[in-house]
Assembly symmetry: C2
Homo-oligomer: 220 residues x 2
């Protein structure tokens, strides 16, 4: 299975955007590991395009710190220190907390069925130890919540955080010793949203954002 891009069918108008989106998703679901290096020419070959669109996609990701780009050196997936990771999860707590608070006002019945389905997916994929699929379900759940704010800028910022924490989370999950220690607060978040309890939705969401940090501590 090659990663070849089809310029005709894909919605995006230019190749750079497609490659950018593809790599971005791979980061979110942890398909790219920390410290992994990405070469423009190698990727260009995989995507079956020239180097040009790839370099723009990589530079774009580097500009939002989703990748590290040093001049004349290969782009790399950041290998976060615990401090850096803590900073990112703090931001997720702040932004997603605020988002959950706002979302309460806009949520509808159809949203709950969707959110519940995402939680089901998370449980299934967690049981199968399918790290990428789990992180994708987790992302879908949270994205649906913060998309209810209708604040596009807020959504973009939170999403950028998922891109940056993805590889780090994936590494933490695969190295987890006791996989039964499943800490999702997601059902409780749904309950709080249904109850219209904005403060509780915020508190639970903030707590969930710190789950990633606990992953780290368990590793020592």
């Amino acid at each position: 299975m090659d990663k070849a891009i089809n310029p005709e069918k894909d919605g995006s108008e230019n190749l750079s955007a497609q490659i950018y989106a593809d790599l971005r998703l791979k980061l979110i679901v942890g398909e790219l590991r920390p410290a992994e290096s990405l070469s423009i020419r190698t990727l260009a070959e995989k995507y079956n395009v020239s180097a040009m669109p790839v370099r723009e996609a990589l530079r774009q990701l580097a500009s939002e710190n989703a990748l590290i780009g040093v001049a004349k050196k290969a782009y790399r997936v950041p290998d976060l220190t615990s401090d850096e990771a803590a900073n990112l999860f703090f931001l997720r707590a702040v932004l997603e907390g605020a988002a959950a608070e706002v979302a309460v006002a806009n949520i509808k019945e159809a949203d709950f069925t969707l959110l519940s389905r995402f939680v089901d997916d998370m449980e299934k994929t967690w049981a199968k130890r399918d790290c990428s699929a789990f992180l994708l379900s987790n992302f879908h759940f949270h994205r649906h919540v913060y998309s209810l704010t209708g604040n596009g800028a807020l959504q973009d910022m939170i999403e950028a955080l998922y891109v940056r924490t993805g590889p780090w989370l994936a590494l933490g999950i695969v190295n987890l010793e006791n996989p039964d220690h499943w800490m999702g607060e997601h059902p409780e978040i749904i309950a709080a949203l249904r109850a219209g309890d904005a403060a509780e939705a915020r508190r639970l969401t903030e707590e969930d954002a710190r789950w990633g940090m606990q992953l780290y501590r368990e590793l020592g």
Copy 2:
């Protein structure tokens, strides 16, 4: 005075980054107006470089919504609707509020003299109706506060908001009817920081972030 870039002396390692930084600052201080269009080739000529570094800088700015980039159409400075502006200022309130709260713990005496100087600059430049210089001083003040958090990701995110609101603020300021209506909360913020009152620092910072919105309402 041309904008020519000097690859030797500038700290950045590549031209793209220098052009990116230059345009970014121009956006922050409102030197680029909403709906203004930026052409790759024109900018390349001004900076005295080829089109390549410019296109990467523009794409990068577009990726963080500091510019609008539609395929095959000229890049433009976004012309924010009032809703979009409200979203951005809401985010500034959330992030800068949280930052101020954290900053209280890390602030030192030397910081107060710096902050006071920025406030002086703001008053002077406001009196002279020098919009760009005023926005720069304002930016310096806020940047110094949120840089005290030591959270690099947080700093980047807030800064990205200043890039996006800059052109819009500049337009609001120059169209302001009663220039005496000066609404800075900055001296009070300094006082709250000095008193170690994190909650008050947060409240005042949040209030200050909404100042931009009031600008808009005054215009009708």
